[in-house]
């Protein structure tokens, strides 16, 4: 019991010294629980949405796309004949059945040609207004659409784009443009995370979205009284002879959740990964805190041992303090996590994804996981200091221990660290020599882990060296104050090492990713320069295929020498070795061979655009033993099966169109009906010589009514690529920010505790004439040196990792290594400022210390 009492009292007595450790635990736990709450809330929202939009049983054609899939390549969804509705109605247990039309292959623009469709990845859906829709929505103004010139829109979209009754919308679909006035606005009764919904009357929807009347994309079936959904499904399966896909409400919800969920899972695990890094960094902070607390209490612990406490009791009492710290930090962290989730939801609505706090879901597992993680990590981190506390001899009570300068970093430690580092470096070198990317990445992973642990272990030794070197450049300018700062940073290399290592982890990842990112940009740019012959690329920003009316407009643009169509076609290939695989084929005009120059391993690429010919990539060819002249059996999806001769084998040593299998559109047309032939997913254009500018302007003009497509010249395209990678990197840097914040807290913590520890020294210095300003400067310089030490290690390590990663990715076409020196240099300089910032409070407090009290402190 006394153990508990002393632990609690110690914890309370030193709560100020534990505060930053608690904050570190809090931040990490908040990130974890915030992620869990946020993703759970998203799941709740989608569950409610899918449950309210699905009828008891839904009948749809086999092969119909799931809720989240890309818009269909043909521009039209799969459909079934209207006659099925009557058959369903006659089936036992059916109360009512209603045909519905809905399509995601739509783009909606207002009178100014501004896209009013959903952004942030949510779909834009057009359909007919049915009784089933009444379950999830209600008409809040106007009325349901009647006739071909009327449309109803959802209230969120209307709000977002300032649409009113009477405004005209143009809906761009593969069959042409539908111009209609808004006659109604319907509001969701549940949260709609961001989809734009349009309603037409049934005939308009059928004509526009499916190209013909008398067809539906699905039938919503309502069960009669006392008939369960599964019973109804079984009955319907009998009545329809299994010709259609049947899904109960639960199955619809589940399949919706699965598709949304897999995206959410990726996000969840990515964010938990970053939380894990923050925890890892937090461990260093906690280790330092407890080490310092134990060191400061050496005498007290010695006394406890002298009067009869066992090692175990001392050990346990320190661990108990860690448990208390973990519990306090985690509880606050879980609460902060809920706040974080709410903040994240607000942020999401700012970028167009509506989430309602009404759906806020906190499962019991969230606080449980948060608390468990927080406590376990804290106790693990405190374990080594606790053991050290247990080893304190009773003699410590008698000795005038003070705070001895622990200069010995340990030879064993150094050896282990160097061995680990050497092993890691060897693994990284092996990785760069690997012939297969999978093998390389295994070694890369090993190398990263070993060099990281090695650096952490050897950190205290490196601290001695680097601090001396850094102070040669940075500190010496400050004279005796700089020298004292240097000595202070060197005084306890283990502490400096751990503090720097915490910063090292975050910055190593930043450096590594920035190297990979800029190498990606450089490699892609390099390849584009070498291989792309087209002047312009036309593509959709939302994955929508290019509709014929837009294509016509493009083709009418002046000053172009040629325009290339490019389609992606699904097919099953049977190779000479007898295997059948599903592959996407690239059907293009033969001019594509000029637009994208490809090296061939065998055969001529132009021959692949001949009748019933195609090309394959060399990886595929090797895998299936395909040679030029071999004949592949190609079963086109939704079309017939043909035999195509392999006329060329292209090199896969590229990143654009890697492994593409080319054939001409004319060949594809032989096996696919016009209805089934996918629309263009990309188009390329070349300008007449010397007319590049005019052609660019003309192409842009031609697409003005179609804002979902963009024309880019090579410069735009490269910039776009750079922006996309830059954006991705910024998100990752933002998430790594958490780990870096924790590391900065670690620097603050070390400094603050050092100031407490050195109270007497500071008092002496002040007594013999060190001014406040000099004292503050001394602490700031120490902080800067620790931060720069961490930055140097981290950036060095990260650049090593990044370079090794690039060497492996070179096998996947990432041929150019580019180290982003401005970023690296910027981070290094920024860490100096981080150091200054971290020293603000400790320096201020040291400056305010009363000289006499400082001298008198025991």
């Amino acid at each position: 019991m006394t153990v508990v009492k002393t632990s609690v009292r110690n914890f309370l007595a030193h709560k100020g010294r534990m505060a930053l450790s608690a904050v570190a635990v809090l931040l990490s736990v908040a990130f974890v629980s915030g992620t869990l709450v946020f993703t759970d809330t998203m799941n709740t929202t989608f569950d409610k949405l899918f449950a309210s939009t699905s009828s008891d049983v839904t009948v749809s054609p086999k092969g119909a796309a799931a809720a989240d899939e890309m818009p269909s390549q043909t521009g039209k969804p799969e459909s079934l004949p209207a006659s099925v509705v009557a058959r369903v109605e006659k089936s036992p247990g059916v109360k009512s059945a209603e045909g519905a039309v809905s399509s995601m292959s739509v783009t909606v623009v207002d009178s100014e040609n501004e896209n009013v469709g959903a952004s942030s990845g949510a779909p834009t859906i057009a359909g007919n207004w049915t009784r089933n829709d009444l379950r999830s929505m209600e008409i809040t103004s106007g009325h349901a659409p009647r006739g071909p010139t009327e449309v109803m829109v959802d209230a969120d979209t209307a709000d977002k784009h300032g649409l009113k009754l009477g405004d005209e919308l143009r809906t761009i679909v593969v069959t042409g443009d539908i111009k209609a006035k808004i006659v109604g606005i319907a509001t969701f009764k549940v949260t709609n995370p961001g989809a734009t919904i349009l309603y037409f009357d049934t005939e308009t929807a059928q004509r526009g979205l499916l190209g013909e009347t008398g067809r539906f994309t699905q039938i919503n079936v309502v069960a009669g009284q006392g008939v369960s959904d599964t019973q109804l499904k079984t009955d319907l399966a009998g009545s329809l002879d299994g010709a259609y896909k049947l899904q109960t409400q639960k199955e619809m919800t589940d399949s919706g959740r699965e598709s949304v969920g897999s995206f959410l899972d990726v996000m969840k695990y990515a964010m938990l990964g970053f939380a894990g890094i923050a925890f890892l960094v937090g461990i260093f902070l906690i280790v330092n805190t407890f080490s310092m607390l134990v060191a400061q209490r050496t005498r007290e612990i010695g006394l406890m041992r002298a009067i009869g406490s066992s090692r175990k009791q001392v050990n346990r009492s320190v661990l108990l303090e860690a448990v208390l710290l973990g519990v306090v930090g985690s509880i606050a962290g879980v609460a902060a996590g809920v706040g974080l989730a709410v903040g994240l939801m607000k942020l999401m609505s700012a970028i167009g994804m509506e989430l309602s706090t009404q759906d806020l879901t906190v499962k019991w597992t969230t606080p449980a996981v948060g608390l468990a993680l927080g406590v376990i990590v804290t106790v693990l981190a405190a374990y080594i200091p606790a053991r050290r506390a247990g080893k304190i001899s009773p003699m410590a009570a008698l000795r005038d221990a003070g705070t001895p300068a622990d200069g010995r970093a340990g030879r064993i430690r150094g050896t282990i660290g160097l061995l680990l580092t050497a092993g890691g470096v060897a693994a990284l070198l092996t990785a760069t020599q690997a012939e297969k990317a999978s093998e390389g990445s295994l070694f890369l992973g090993l190398g990263v882990v070993f060099t990281l642990i090695g650096f952490v272990v050897v950190g205290p030794l490196l601290a001695g060296f680097f601090v001396r070197v850094l102070s040669l450049f940075v500190l010496r300018a400050w004279g005796p104050v700089g020298r004292m700062a240097e000595r202070n940073a060197l005084r306890n290399p283990r502490r400096t090492g751990a503090t720097g290592a915490a910063l090292m982890i975050g910055l190593a990842l930043v450096a590594c990713l920035s190297v990979v990112g800029s190498s990606m940009v450089a490699s892609a740019t390099d390849e584009l320069d070498k291989s792309v012959g087209a002047d312009f690329i036309i593509q959709s920003s939302s994955g929508q295929p290019i509709v014929p009316q837009a294509q016509k407009a493009l083709e009418a643009a002046p000053h172009t020498s040629h325009i290339t169509e490019y389609k992606s076609i699904e097919a099953k290939l049977t190779t000479p070795d007898g295997k059948t695989v599903s592959e996407d084929l690239a059907a293009a005009d033969s001019t594509y061979a000029q637009d994208l120059r490809r090296e061939t391993v065998a055969g001529e690429l132009s021959a692949a655009y001949g009748k019933d010919a195609m090309s394959v990539g060399d990886t595929f060819a090797e895998e299936h033993g395909v040679k030029v002249g071999d004949v592949l059996t190609v079963a086109f999806k939704g079309g017939e099966t043909g035999k195509l001769k392999v006329a060329a084998i292209t090199s896969d040593d590229v990143s654009v169109d890697k492994g593409a299998k080319y054939l001409s559109i004319a060949t594809a047309e032989r096996y696919l009906s016009a209805e089934r032939l996918p629309k263009n997913i990309l188009m390329f254009a070349a300008a007449d010589d010397g007319k590049e500018k005019e052609a660019y302007a003309a192409l842009k003009d031609s697409l003005a009514p179609y804002p979902q497509y963009k024309v880019q010249d090579q410069t735009d395209f490269k910039q776009d690529l750079k922006d996309q990678i830059g954006q991705l990197l910024n998100i990752v840097y933002g998430l790594l920010g958490l780990a870096i914040i924790v590391a900065v807290l670690g620097v603050v913590n070390t400094l603050a505790l050092s100031v407490v520890e050195r109270t007497r020294e500071i008092g002496l210095l002040r007594a013999i004439g060190l001014s406040r300003r000099q004292l503050r400067r001394m602490i700031r310089l120490e902080s800067v040196v620790i931060a720069l030490f961490g930055a140097l290690l981290g950036l060095g390590l990260g650049m090593g990792w990044g370079t090794a990663a690039q060497k492996i990715l070179a096998l996947e076409g990432l041929g150019v290594l580019e180290i982003p020196w401005p970023t690296i240099g910027g981070v290094f300089v920024a860490s100096a400022f981080v150091g200054l910032f971290a020293a603000l409070v400790p320096a201020f407090r040291a400056g305010r210390m009363n000289v006499l009290n400082a001298i008198a402190t025991d």
């Binding site: 005796p480 104050v481 020294e761 013999i768 001298i855």
Partner: protein, 262 residues
């Protein structure tokens, strides 16, 4: 009883005051109301230049407080303190820090040295902080006087307690301060090491003309001084010139006895 202000304000030391520091009607009180404790009660004192003054008194007599106030480490509640002709009771922290740095030397009971600096660096620290170059010749003389020439590169942890205090003495002397304050400088040393340090202090007064003020409760330490001031209940109650250890001890016993009977 007597006042300690007995030395003429102007002496024969080249026009400078014969008094290195003086306190006038100094009061130092802590707390207020019923919990008010008066540590110094209207103290007047003059510290003679070029002399070794010891301040004695029982625990709680205010001897350390007096020294802290004289040295500009602590503020006074009322009254004035002068170092030479500077009224230090009027100075703000920044000026006071400079004054301590440039004109005062300190020797504390323990923790006198920075563990990260070697002996020589510790000795020159006040001048380094001030950005002044130490006077080489003087430094050498000081180092020789305290007998540390062969230990200059050692860290404090590699030195004995007596050696550490000698480094502290050297540090105080090296900057040629107007006055050196010692707060029980031999309190943590055994009698032999203590005698060594006190001899150095005595020699620095005799040979280098240093003004020295030392707080102590050890009659033997006090016997090295030219003059001993006795403090009790925040007042100077007596003084003695050219004391011997026996005289000081007798006087102390006397106080104790009186303290008990009165």
């Amino acid at each position: 009883m007597t006042t300690a202000v007995t030395i003429p304000k102007h002496g024969g030391t080249g026009g400078r005051l014969a008094v290195a520091a003086r306190a006038r009607q100094v009061v130092k009180a802590y707390g207020s109301g019923e919990t008010r404790i008066v540590a110094l009660d209207h103290v007047d004192v003059d510290i003679a230049r070029g002399q070794f003054t010891a301040i004695m008194g029982p625990s709680g007599s205010g001897k350390s407080t007096l020294m802290h106030c004289l040295a500009g480490l602590d503020t006074v509640t009322s009254g004035e303190i002068y170092l030479d002709e500077t009224e230090i009771t009027k100075l703000k922290d920044k000026k006071l820090t400079q004054l301590r740095r440039d004109r005062i030397g300190f020797i504390f009971q323990a923790y006198n040295l920075l563990p990260t600096l070697n002996a020589l660096e510790n000795i020159t620290l006040p001048m380094d902080i001030a950005g002044r170059k130490p006077d080489r010749q003087w430094l050498q003389r000081v180092v020789e006087t305290v007998g540390l020439a062969d230990r200059l590169k050692h860290r404090p942890t590699q030195l004995s307690g007596g050696q550490q205090q000698r480094v502290a003495v050297a540090r105080a002397l090296a900057a040629r301060p107007e006055i050196i304050f010692g707060d029980e400088p031999t309190g943590n040393l055994d009698s032999r090491a203590g005698a060594e340090v006190l001899n150095f202090l005595r020699r620095s007064v005799d040979e280098l003309g240093q003004t020295m003020v030392m707080v102590t409760h050890d009659p033997v330490a006090a016997s090295y001084a030219d003059r001993v001031l006795y403090l009790a209940d925040g007042r100077i109650v007596d003084e003695m010139r050219n004391p011997t250890a026996e005289q000081v001890l007798d006087r102390m016993k006397n106080f104790d006895a009186r303290g008990r009977t009165s």
